[in-house]
Structures are given as structure tokens and as C-alpha cells.
Amino acid sequence: MSDPTFLLSRQTELRPAPYRKIAATGWTSRLLPGSRSEIYLGEDHLLHAKQIMLFEKYRRFYFSDIEAISFSKSNRWIWLSVVWGFLLFCSLFWYLGHQTWCYIVGAVFCMVFGGLLLLNLIAGRTYVVNIQTAAQIRRLRPVERENQLIKFQQTVVPIIMQAQQVQQSNEAAV
């Protein structure tokens, strides 16, 4: 057990794989248990980590196995804008109070809901994104906003193409 070669190999084996976070769900997902998920870029695969309160579940998508990435436009961002806009409108009723504290409370609510509306509009439109391998189809919630999806495609698609071309050339050589 005290053999240094054994210890070195054991440490190498147990050392966590280096992952780089490339996308994550927004800060509001921290408030709802089970809705937080992140995507990490590994050496030869994508790792989807989903936090379910007391556990973190991992799914791996090897670049050589990814068959398709499909995305559809969704109307969720419109509905969210309607909700935040309506709450912003409701916050304006505090100004009917004609008292200083009513103005202060109204301003706070307007700032909160106005900020959320603005953030929703800045984040861009929403999509439903699925990644598909031969064994599984998974929804990727962290990249469902337009800006995130574009960045994800720019990062991941060239890596997948490169991995699969290398694999094809290896198979052809065999």
C-alpha cells in the first residue's frame, strides 16, 4: 500500500476530472429546488449536472456519441414578460396612496419587477433545446436563452465535429 507508484496512480485515478462550466440556469433557479442545472465541458464529453436539493445528478454526453442538437422556439419569454409587466403595473398602484412610505414601497416594487422585466428582455427569447445520443435524449435547460444557445453552439459544435471526424478517420484506418 505504501508503494509510491501505487499511491500516485490511485491519486491520479481519484482526482476529479477537470471541468469548465459553459452554461448554467439563472439565479432564480437557485430558489426552486431541483431546477438548477449546469453544463460543463470535459476532455471528451459534456457533463450535465442537475442539482436536486440534497443530490447532484450527472449525465455525460460523449462528443463521439452526440447524434443531434435540436431546438425549437418557445413563447416562455413572452409569458414571463407579461407576468413581470403586469406586476410592474400593479406596483404603480402604491403611488395612489399619496404618502411618503407608499411612494417608497412603490419605488421598491417598481425597481424589482422593472428589473426582472428588463433582465428577461435582455436575456433574449427562449428555446427548448434537446441533445440526443443513441441512448438518451435530454433537455438542456441552461442553454434555453438565445445568447446562451449561440455561445453553446459556438463552443460545442466544432468540438463535436472534430471528435467525430477523428473517430471516422480512425475507423476507416482500421
Binding site: 476529479p16 436539493m53 440534497l54 443530490f55 455525460r60 463521439s64 443531434a68 435540436s70 425549437s72 433545446v129
Partner: protein, 201 residues
């Protein structure tokens, strides 16, 4: 040949004419504007045909003696036929090894979940306060939470980078809650002793 690409909304099969287009096209079933990026792996055979029968001179599969061995398990070295060979990343393994390695979760590639001890400790501290059982069991819950912080500090091994600030927060909160509970009990006892008539004693 794989089944094809699917619509993310209705999960029905998309036409091959919709693959790798630069613009969105309507799904033939749900009409949702959809775009699909398809990679060469979709053309790869996913399920091998029936494994070849072995001759007397050839090695047989460990699990199916009649089938010809085509691969060797990278972990245990068993001979495997095409049906028993499972590609796990770059390795080719037998079903037994995959099952065992996933159960043991000793190697990062086979770890599929991690227990978040920091979240458990925080939950143990927040739950009694929210459920109003803190008055009776506050000290027990805070002691449990502190024990979980101490155990989990080393045992929590998530695959992805995770900050330790939740552990520090949980340790601090457990100390505050424990001391607070002792102070609360001491205050109640002091009040009862100093004003026994107010409490009907």
C-alpha cells in the same frame, strides 16, 4: 442506423430534409419552429446484429459461449461478443464491470451522483426554525448539522467545482442556533425561577 432526430416539443421524428438547415422550419407534427443540427454519429450503427457463431478454433464470449469473442473487457479482461461489448467513452467494457463500477463510484467517469452534505446541513438548520420545532429540538438539530459539516467536509466529492462556503455558513449557523437554544432555555428557566407566580407555580 439510428432512428433519426426528434422535435424537442412533440418528440416526433423530424424529416431528414429538415436536418442541418440554417433557418428554422416548422415541425410536421406540432408546427413549432425547429432547427436541428445533426452530426455524423447519427449514421453509426447503434445496435449490432446478432453476434457471429464461433468455430471450434475461435475464442468464445464469456457470457455467450456459442458467440465469437470480438473484444476484451478493458477492466476485467473477459472475452466479449459484439452484443456484450459496451462502449463507455473510449473504453470497451462488459455489463458486469459497468454495473460494479457505477455501484462503487470509485472512478470519476462512473460517478453519476454526489451527495451534497452542505445542503443537508443547511436544511437541518432551516427546517426546525420553519416548522417551529426549534424550541424543543433546536440543540439536537444544530448538533446533527455540525456533525454533518465535519463528516461532509472531506467526504463530499462532487465531480464539478463547488465552493466550501456553504459548509462554513452551516457551521456558523449551527453554532449560533445551538448557543441560541441554550440561551433561550436558560432565559425560560430564569424567568420561571424569578417569577414563579406568573407561571402558576
Amino acid at each position: 442506423m439510428s432512428a433519426g432526430a426528434f422535435c424537442p416539443i412533440c418528440h416526433r421524428l423530424l424529416a431528414t430534409s429538415q436536418w442541418n438547415l440554417t433557418d428554422f422550419t416548422a415541425c410536421p407534427n406540432c408546427q413549432a419552429p425547429t432547427r436541428t443540427l445533426v452530426f455524423p454519429a447519427i449514421a453509426k450503427a447503434t445496435f449490432s446484429a446478432r453476434p457471429a457463431q464461433r468455430n471450434e478454433t475461435e475464442a468464445g464470449c464469456f457470457f455467450h459461449a456459442d458467440s465469437r469473442a470480438e473484444n476484451v473487457c478493458a477492466s476485467c479482461g473477459r472475452f466479449l461478443c459484439s452484443m456484450c461489448t459496451l462502449a463507455f467513452g473510449t473504453q470497451k467494457l462488459c455489463p458486469d464491470c459497468i454495473y460494479r463500477k457505477r455501484r462503487q463510484a470509485s472512478e470519476p467517469p462512473f460517478q453519476d451522483q454526489a451527495v451534497l452534505f452542505d445542503n443537508i446541513a443547511l436544511l437541518l438548520l432551516v427546517l426546525p426554525v420553519l416548522c417551529f420545532v426549534y424550541i424543543y429540538l433546536g440543540l439536537i438539530f444544530s448538533a446533527f448539522a455540525l456533525a454533518i459539516v465535519i463528516i461532509g467536509w472531506r467526504r463530499q466529492r462532487p465531480l464539478v467545482p463547488r465552493s466550501k462556503y456553504r459548509f462554513v455558513l452551516a457551521a456558523g449557523l449551527s453554532l449560533i442556533e445551538g448557543i441560541g437554544w441554550i440561551a433561550l432555555v436558560w432565559l425560560v428557566v430564569w424567568l420561571i425561577q424569578s417569577h414563579p407566580t406568573d407561571f402558576g407555580l
